[in-house]
Subunit: 329 residues, 2 copies
């Protein structure tokens, strides 16, 4: 592959001029431009990003950290990040941490040693202390899960309000025994959604029953199925459940199917995230929709602004309760 000097030679100009044509950074005569472009075509020249990046000391690569690829919740956010980044001349590198500190370190190092310019983290399991340390010298944005101390800018939704809204919906349908299938409460969103759950109970004078709260450390289908299995073994079986993710809710629904419990007649169910599957289950799943694509756009926008030295502020976006068959009546 030809380099910039060969192009310059071929065009009979200096490499600086070729660079000028490439980046149209300062004026070049139409005639020289023609010559250069001609030479570029003839030699089939493609500028080396390696050289350019070294010179500019930037990679135009953004890291997007997610715990694993398997959770469809992330895909739509990623689409937003991707679309926006590409538009502004950045590429994104999707990084699966597997909640593994070694992997995590690999990605942090990529930023430190200039292989990537910044990070959008959607990984709730991330080592927040290390990330904050990194944030002192590099650009970082959080998405979905955020830092309570707010030292790193984030884009998120009001989890407590969303959970409260879900509960209010269930309570209005007449449910009094409502379970919460929550994830590990070491995560901020889990604590926030629990808060909303409890606030609704209190406001409607319903008792808070410890045995109705199930914490799982497995966010996939299996986790939801197992949670429901436990709930159905209780002396007084709840009549509804709010699962903090659609994957959990779908697993729970499967378990209800297996046990022959009719949804929503015998048991009402609500999920969270509005993943595409949630509209394919039987019955379809009531859930909370986050403006995922918008969140992705916002996160990418904030990160790139930050990279370009502009000031950025955290944002809270709106959510929406989507009522479907699993809570009809």
């Amino acid at each position: 592959m030809a380099n910039i000097h060969e192009v310059a030679k071929q065009a009979g100009v200096s490499s600086a001029t070729v660079s000028r044509v490439l980046n149209n950074t300062s004026s070049v005569t139409e005639k020289t431009r023609q010559k250069v472009e001609q030479a570029i075509k003839e030699l089939n020249y493609e500028p080396s990003m390696l050289g350019r990046n070294l010179r500019n000391s930037e990679s135009r690569l953004l890291l997007v950290l997610i715990p694993n690829f398997s959770n469809p919740y992330y895909t739509e956010i990623i689409n937003g990040i991707e679309d926006f980044s590409v538009e502004r001349g950045y590429n994104i590198l999707l990084c699966e941490t597997d909640s593994n500190p070694t992997r995590e370190n690999t990605f942090f190092n990529m930023v430190k040693n200039k292989l990537a310019d910044g990070i959008i983290s959607m990984d709730p399991t991330i080592n927040m202390a290390k990330l904050q340390e990194l944030a002192k010298k590099h650009s970082i944005v959080l998405c979905s899960e955020y830092d309570e101390l707010e030292r790193i800018p984030y884009v998120a939704i009001d989890n407590e309000a969303a959970a409260y809204k879900v509960m209010k919906h269930l309570i209005r349908l007449g449910h009094e025994n409502i379970a919460l299938i929550n994830s590990d409460e070491k995560f901020l969103y889990a604590r926030q959604r629990r808060k909303g759950y409890e606030r609704a109970l209190k406001e409607f004078d319903l008792p808070l029953r410890k045995e109705y709260i199930y914490n799982t450390n497995n966010l996939d289908f299996q986790g939801g199925a197992q949670a429901m299995r436990k709930l159905l073994q209780l002396d007084e079986i709840p009549t509804a459940a709010f699962a903090v993710s659609d994957t959990l809710a779908i697993g729970a629904l499967k378990e209800l199917n297996v046990k022959g419990m009719d949804v929503p007649d015998a048991f009402a169910l609500v999920g969270f995230d509005n993943i595409s599957f949630s509209n394919m289950t039987n019955p379809t799943l009531t859930t909370v929709a986050q403006p995922m694509y918008q969140m992705g756009i916002a996160a990418a926008n904030m990160l790139i602004d930050q990279l370009q030295g502009k000031p950025v502020d955290s944002v809270m976006l709106e959510h929406e309760l989507i009522i479907r068959e699993s809570t009809l009546n």
Copy 2:
């Protein structure tokens, strides 16, 4: 962030020696090594990949091309690619082409201008001619969908045999009117699976009915639902269907649910891919499992071997029919 010269100065050696310590490429006295490592720690030094990559003219970045993030079929393959690549010192960049030629070109250019070392393409919609052109000078591997002329090494399964196996299973259950919900037959896998479908019909002396073959250009749930809607409008409604992806099958199943058709009693259904959700539907879905993780490993292995100048051969991996509730009896 300190650079290699500052480390050298701090340690009282030359930058060449620091480089030697970093890459333990030639012998260095234990004492000097100590000094250097000390200096590295003190300055919190991280070698710049930008400099290293430019010098070595490699990026240690592999591109993985997929049509879009939303299809869970790819996730497990990606896991395999990722795990293996990281082990061999490469990172992967997940590239969503959206079947958009412009995006595609962006990624091809990344290889041309040294931002990435090679490509694993899982995108059936890719411009094969351009890819072949690129393959003349760069390392490329195909996964799942491949090049009939076999000029680019690939890892795949025997689609025709898999489709035949599915049909044989349905025919043995007594079905004679079996529909095929296929994707666009511009894709090789679609043609191959149709071949298997037809071969089974012929072998069992069943008529090939054109109206039982539905081609969709939309591989998601909606595509499957729409296909089933059409099939259920036929004069002689089929009693079973083979959908060439689980997403299609799940959409079809949803439509059957909506129409109140019992699966498998009134209608048997088979999918393809064994995505995790296929075990969460009601009823659970019979499907063909591909060894996705293994495919990912194999593809990454082939690409890295190729980059290192080793000869590589295409491979065909085994598949397996997973019988679940949607075809029980």
